[in-house]
């Protein structure tokens, strides 16, 4: 097998480069093939091709199902999603990611995009969301209020402050006068939630909708201070959208009554 001679470790060097490239490749989102012509029939409203939507991680489940609905209403149209921390996605858009729509979990992350002049029109808030304490279903540490998170032996995951759920957590904690040292600052809300699911932490501050979408594996404990840290979710079509018609149609669809019903069923509040 490995009977190569001296230059062996230079080959290992090559292997490390391959690994490094592979690593660099992940997390960069999808490349979106915006203007690809559909093979099916075009629908009446001229929406064709692929609509690429970058959306906050907390929208994962509901947007996946809304995407199906949108595709059903526009035969031949395909919606592709890239979910992540809103700040990551905003950065990807600023760096030229070919996307049509951006749905963020906070006005601050949307502002990164509008400040760069990359939004088409003014973003509009389509839902609101607030935090709960996600705990394992049996709540072994008996977490009932925010202050319980500071009890000795309770491991807590929060989102990093750059991410909307982290900013909201900071606001809620300071509103409650609770000073908390988490064990980890995760890069998006789903990563924080998965740490609870895996049993690696005892609690995490996540959105009510995340706890709800994951019911069975986690339970959401409501706390009063979350009312002081309600996140507005803005959505905008992007200026450099490869599929501008599709972008406008998708944004209009998200603001329509049927989509709003689905969003409120998922636990989001109306703006």
């Amino acid at each position: 097998m490995w009977k190569f001679e001296r230059p062996l470790w230079s080959r290992v060097g090559a292997a490390s480069l391959v690994l490094a490239l592979g690593l660099a490749g992940c997390g960069s989102g999808n490349g979106g093939s915006g203007g690809a012509a559909p093979s099916g029939s075009a629908s009446a409203d001229n929406v064709t091709g692929t609509v690429t939507v970058l959306a906050a991680a907390s929208l994962t489940e509901v947007f996946n199902s809304l995407g199906k609905t949108f595709e059903g209403a526009h035969p031949g149209v395909k919606v592709t999603f890239s979910y992540g921390g809103s700040s990551t996605l905003a950065q990807q858009i600023v760096n030229g990611a070919p996307a049509d729509v951006f749905a963020a979990a906070s006005p601050a992350t949307m502002k990164t995009v509008t400040d760069a002049g990359l939004a088409a029109g003014t973003p509009s808030v389509f839902v609101r969301n607030q935090l709960v304490i996600a705990v394992p279903p049996d709540n072994p540490k008996h977490i009932a209020v925010l202050a319980d998170l500071t009890k000795p032996g309770v491991k807590v995951a929060l989102c990093a402050e750059a991410v909307p759920c982290g900013a909201a957590a900071k606001t809620a904690l300071s509103a409650a006068g609770v000073s908390l040292t988490p064990v980890t600052l995760e890069q998006d809300v789903k990563a924080a939630l998965s740490k609870v699911e895996l049993g690696e932490v005892d609690a995490a501050l996540v959105y009510r909708t995340d706890a709800k979408s994951d019911s069975g594996k986690v339970t959401g404990v409501e706390f009063p201070e979350s009312a002081k840290a309600i996140n507005d979710y803005p959505i905008a079509a992007l200026k450099n959208a490869p599929n501008a018609t599709g972008a406008a149609a998708f944004v209009a669809f998200i603001k329509s009554a049927p989509a709003q019903t689905a969003l409120s069923r998922a636990g989001f509040q109306s703006p």
């Binding site: 490995w2 490094a20 992940c26 600052l185 895996l198 932490v201």
Partner: protein, 255 residues
Amino acid sequence: MRRIPPVLLLPAVLGLVFLVLPLVGLLVRTPWSDLAGRLSEPGVVTALRLSLETATLATALCVVLGVPLAWLLARVAFPGRRLVRALVTVPLVLPPVVGGVALLLVFGRRGLVGSWWGIQLPFTTAGVVVAEAFVALPFLVVAVEGALLAADLRYEEAAVTLGASRWTVFSRITLPLVAPGVAAGAVLSWARALGEFGATITFAGNFPGRTQTMPLAVYLALETDSDAAIVLSLVLLAVSVAVLAGLRGRWVAAA
């Protein structure tokens, strides 16, 4: 001098440009004017120290475990050796994030080992070392095994005929003989550990001063303050180039 065929020269130059250009980009965008101020920020110093400490500890762990493993693979004919050899290289090709998930399932609170022994590795600095050692160990094993296979067996055979035990042969003959290979493997492991991202963020989480190494700090800084991310990247680049250049001159060239 004979002419270099363009069909070889052109891709070679392109390859070089491809490798060097991103580094140039980093240097061009570096905020040189307030570099000193940014470098002395406590966050940068903390992340850098954590990175250097964990990468060095992980390398030490790799040497302690990896050299005997490489020796076993190169010198002892045991059934299933080919399979073991293949298993050793799995982390080399495994996406690091997958490695992190796997580590979590074994050493996590509810993991196979973690739940028996009650050890708590996730979210600790020790967890960072474990994650880094996991991805770096194959580099050391492959390098040392290569050196062992290339080494002249006659010295060891001579020692055996003179009555030396296997341990004496290993420690007095084999190890000095492959020392450059061990050094090369250690440098590679160290470099790999220093750059580790996926397994670390998955297994050890991200908390400044405890588990936030330089690559994690770069990734998160990019979302809020791209200048900070560039400065952090520059520091990481400078440190790795300095160490690799220093060690290469002294050790690796001899390999």
